[in-house]
């Protein structure tokens, strides 16, 4: 491949990426504008909250419990080097509330519900179900996208709360039951070290991640290509893009929230 062809290829790829980025924002603007217009599909929203949120509870709780347990083992080991094992409870709680709770919950929801959302919307598109909605004078953005976007924003923070609570429980069981730490010390140090700002910053992250996961899943389903290959690509792209966005956004949100609230 000569230099001109390579430059053309790079240029085309840049244009496609920028176009897709712009299209994703246009899509989001359309969903947000549509979301404020009646009729408000409360039933559809509950259905999606059930699908994204309630059906993810068991997997999120399981991962949360074991994450807390691992944090207890690792925390106790690390803090013992400084003679500070009393702070294990605090380390577990702060790690879960500020960082691991929102991030791991969003990644779990992305893997379980985000991929399903993209695949479902993609299949609806290629099997003419989206066309059928429009032919029946039903706006597919209003009927399909708005409830999913809102359900993601509602569900991820609630699931994050479950993740954190179960995670702290798992950490407590391991720290107190297996590693022999004092129950009173674990709880009192944890309560003293966790502030409202820690909880609100974790909550803000969870809302942002829930928004991104459902936005990307809806957009990838909406723009899905034809056939099984199209659905396959859209689903893979949705999961990968969301995972990367969650981790990149986490860094920026952590930096911003730390500078604003903890300086």
């Amino acid at each position: 491949m000569n230099a001109v062809a390579r430059t053309e290829q790079i240029g085309r790829s840049v244009i496609e990426t920028v176009s897709a980025f712009g299209a994703a924002w246009m899509f989001l603007a359309r969903v947000l504008v549509t979301s404020i217009r009646p009729p408000y599909g409360v039933g559809l929203l509950f259905k999606q909250v059930y699908s994204i949120g309630v059906q993810s509870v068991s997997v999120v709780a399981l991962v949360g419990g074991f994450t807390g347990a691992v944090l207890a083992v690792q925390g106790e080991y690390t803090l013992s080097k400084f003679g500070a094992t009393a702070f294990t409870g605090s380390a577990i709680a702060l790690s879960l509330i500020r960082e691991l709770g929102p991030v791991l919950t969003a990644l779990m929801v992305n893997g379980r519900a985000g991929s399903a959302m993209t695949a479902e919307l993609g299949i609806m598109k290629i099997s003419e179900q989206v066309d059928a909605l429009r032919a029946m004078a039903v706006d597919p953005v209003h009927h399909l996208m708005v409830p999913r976007l809102l359900a993601g924003i509602i569900s991820v923070p609630l699931l994050t709360a479950i993740f954190i609570v179960v995670g702290i429980g798992g950490g407590y069981l391991v720290a107190v039951g297996t590693l022999g730490l004092s129950s009173g010390t674990f709880i009192s140090v944890m309560v003293q070290s966790v502030s409202d700002v820690d909880i609100w910053s974790g909550f803000a992250k969870a809302v942002a991640f829930g928004f991104c996961v459902s936005w990307i899943a809806c957009y990838k389903g909406w723009t899905c290509g034809f056939g099984a290959v199209g659905v396959n690509r859209a689903t893979t792209s949705s999961v990968v893009t969301s995972s990367v966005v969650i981790l990149v956004l986490d860094y920026f949100l952590t930096s911003i929230l730390t500078n604003v609230f903890f300086d």
Partner: protein, 236 residues
């Protein structure tokens, strides 16, 4: 894809749009229903311009005058057959029926298309022929003025295909809707239509009664009727 298409679909009659595969029949149907935008020209539904609709709301209002049976029936997988049939009634912007009336009307419509007892089945649990029947029930339940059928017997064996045509004929006689049937299957489609328009290379080759269509001496029409391999269509 389409070029200079000019069709006048008579009120209360059924017109078949026929032609070889890939000639623009389904594209024309999607333009008529507003699913695809037309580059130029105008689609008038009951003297109202679908293509000239000022906004989405206006387009949807005109849309409600039409019902569509899609090639694949396009039923919602997550809903049972009753909910699929009731869907346009529940989600109509001008919902005028309460839930009990919607259920009653949808059940009656499913009975009408021969699906009594299947109300709670999911689309994945019934045959493609039954899914097409539900598609017809869903298209009819809002009592639209125009119904469009996109390849109604695609994917069906001859017997099931005949069943669908019989159903279209029966309901047309009973309800008296204006029908547009897109198909490439001759002579089966003649059972349900009063007029035939043939598309080829995006242009209307003939628009007339079934008799006029069968008597047309254009080579492309003759080849399509005879189903010959040799001829202008083969060169496409």
């Amino acid at each position: 894809m389409l070029d200079g298409v000019n069709l006048d679909i008579a009120d209360g009659r059924t017109t078949a749009i026929v032609g070889p595969s890939g000639t623009g029949k389904s594209v024309l149907l999607k333009i008529i229903t507003g699913l695809l935008p037309a580059d130029s020209g105008e689609v008038l539904v009951d003297h109202e311009s679908m293509t000239g609709a000022e906004n989405d709301r206006e387009r949807r209002r005109i849309c409600r005058k039409m019902g569509v049976l899609f090639q694949s029936a396009a039923l919602f997988d997550s809903m049972n057959l009753l909910d699929n049939t009731a869907f346009p009634l529940r989600h109509s912007a001008e919902r005028r029926l309460d839930e009990a009336e919607i259920i009653e009307k949808s059940v009656a419509m499913l009975h009408e298309v021969g699906l009594a007892g299947y109300e709670l089945a999911l689309p994945g649990e019934v045959s493609i022929g039954m899914r097409k029947r539900v598609g017809i029930a869903r298209a009819l339940v809002t009592e639209p003025e125009v119904i469009l059928f996109d390849e109604p017997n695609t994917g069906l064996d001859p017997e099931m295909g005949q069943d669908i045509y019989d159903l279209i004929k029966e309901t047309q006689e009973k309800i008296g809707f204006t029908g547009i049937v897109v198909s490439h299957e001759l002579p089966e489609v003649f059972q349900v239509c009063d007029r035939v328009a043939m598309l080829w290379r995006g242009r209307v080759q003939i628009d007339g009664t079934v008799e006029e269509f069968l008597a047309c001496d254009k080579p492309v029409v003759r080849q399509f009727i005879a189903g010959d391999v040799e001829g202008p269509i083969a060169l496409q």
